[in-house]
Symmetry: D3
Subunit: 131 residues, 6 copies
């Protein structure tokens, strides 16, 4: 038993894992699987559950697909998840995010983290007009 | 000397604070100032500095104004800053955010916080294609 | 059994709790106990352990007492712990922190949270000179 | 278009970036630029904006320069930003921070993170004397 | 349109929301619904999705139900989510968590937050034996 | 003076550090010291203090040793402390944690981080029954 979980490739994956891999590739119209899913594959129920959630939440809805990916990138940048910034950043670029847009996104992430702390530390009361 | 800083109203504000209040109202085409600025006003240089930053970062640019407000709301929701969610949420609604869009935004914030932890805990290696 | 732990006052406290209360008051040269300790008192070993740690870490050392309190306030402000900001803020004020110093402290907390996110999101490599 | 932003050296930098680099070196009385600024340089308005903020917030004021750097290091250590710990740690050492002081700083950062969680989880009410 | 979402009671809920409420009550063998679900009910797909996830993740598995609830409480305490501490704390108490166990849980949450910061700030290399 | 603290081995350690190393090995019935302690050893009072805390908090009590280690792992996973996940994960495995249990633990950590954000962002009121 080792503490580090290696990616499980398609060729070595059991049927329930392959079924999720197949659905990921079909949904995303791509022919490869990124490492997140290959590592989650050590736990097939979680693999399936998280994919089901991502697929539902990121599907076309009230927000356009690019805005959704940028929101995902912004939260991941705020949390410092490098892999998530890389993977959702790539998805956002595929959907049209420019470098200028990414720069503005990061500026907002930084500024929000600054003002969030000032507001919270100063315990500012919510204005009646906001309620 | 008290630990809690009360909002400083326009009528009682010194000239340097009034100048910022005036610019906030002119820029936002509104006739009132929300509590965040009134509390920051105890420290005029910080009031001016933060307003200058918000004004620059949130100005029209590569991203449309609604997307920028929603990114601000998303980071604030992820960080649990109630005041920031209320104030930037109000701004986003003024710019057109629907409740359905807000629901999708929150779903992404929640899901990103879940997958950010899974990815980080499992120490997933960044795929070569993402670099 | 209730989920909310009420403060345990000196008069109703068992001997092991009173011993800690007595040491807090003697060390701080004060005649009262703040709520943190009175709530922790439901778990006497933790009460004693945390007090022992605070007493040791915050004792005079290489840093002067005011700087130590301000570092505590800064971390608490960054984490959004209102009680901790209030209690360590009060201690810092007692040791001489002015409102102007507190304003600068908060400005640094906010700015550090902004640049921390930019640096982490952009995955900036540590310069050789810093190693 | 690549997801990773390489540092932009002085020789290859456009005039608006060089102007900021020059001001950083003049202000800090040094002849080199650390990677943070070279990576931010992909977005010149953010480079200029963040530098303007750092320069203003970290300038001599009510707090002495060493205390300011240590507050920056403490927040960065609490947030786990390695680059920020390295860069502001180096600045603090240049301004006189000893290893014994750094050890005390880290001890406070750790302890504050412990007590912040206990206080928040236990929902301790702020004592009237602190208000 | 208001920024604050009020709980939606069973009597006023649409059929798709009632279906989830019914499943929650049947699964938990209870006759009431707590506020989390009633507020999520403004967004029925998210209500259903989150309930499906909670139901699957918290179902009997390799870990006993009490341990699972305590892990949920520990993460919520670490994140400072009062509602989550209250709701999952109540669930843990129903499953047998004693106050002494809760005290130990909180002590671990506090200590882990302390050592997590020390380890991260000091950038401790993972020992070969742990890999 | 260097910013990076190298592990201090037993052979080169001063007596007060060796005394802690000896107690760690005796308590854990092992013949080696992991890097966390060797890096903390640059600050002997903190080394002794943190070890004293770990020893007391993680000692047999109301919770069984495996549950305690898993709570430590869960908080560390939520905070993204790789070293802590590795070291406490190894301790949990030694005490009997299976990979299936670890998978469930991580699923709870991820889900709690998701629902913590939803609850906090939506500002859900604590139900009277939970108080």
């Amino acid at each position: 038993m080792t503490a580090v979980r290696q990616p499980i490739e398609y060729a070595e994956a059991p049927p329930d894992v392959r079924a999720v891999y197949d659905d990921i590739m079909a949904t995303r119209k791509t022919d490869w699987i990124n490492n997140f899913w290959k590592v989650l594959a050590h736990d097939p129920p979680t693999l399936r559950r998280i994919w089901t959630n991502i697929k539902e939440v990121m599907a076309p809805g009230a927000l356009d697909p690019l805005t959704k990916e940028m929101l995902y990138v912004a939260v991941s940048a705020s949390n410092g998840c490098h892999y998530c910034i890389a993977s959702h950043g790539a998805a956002a670029r595929t959907k049209g995010m420019t470098e200028a847009q990414y720069s503005e996104l990061l500026a907002i992430v930084g500024l929000a983290n600054e003002t969030n702390r000032l507001v919270t530390a100063l315990n500012v009361a919510v204005d009646a007009r906001f309620l």
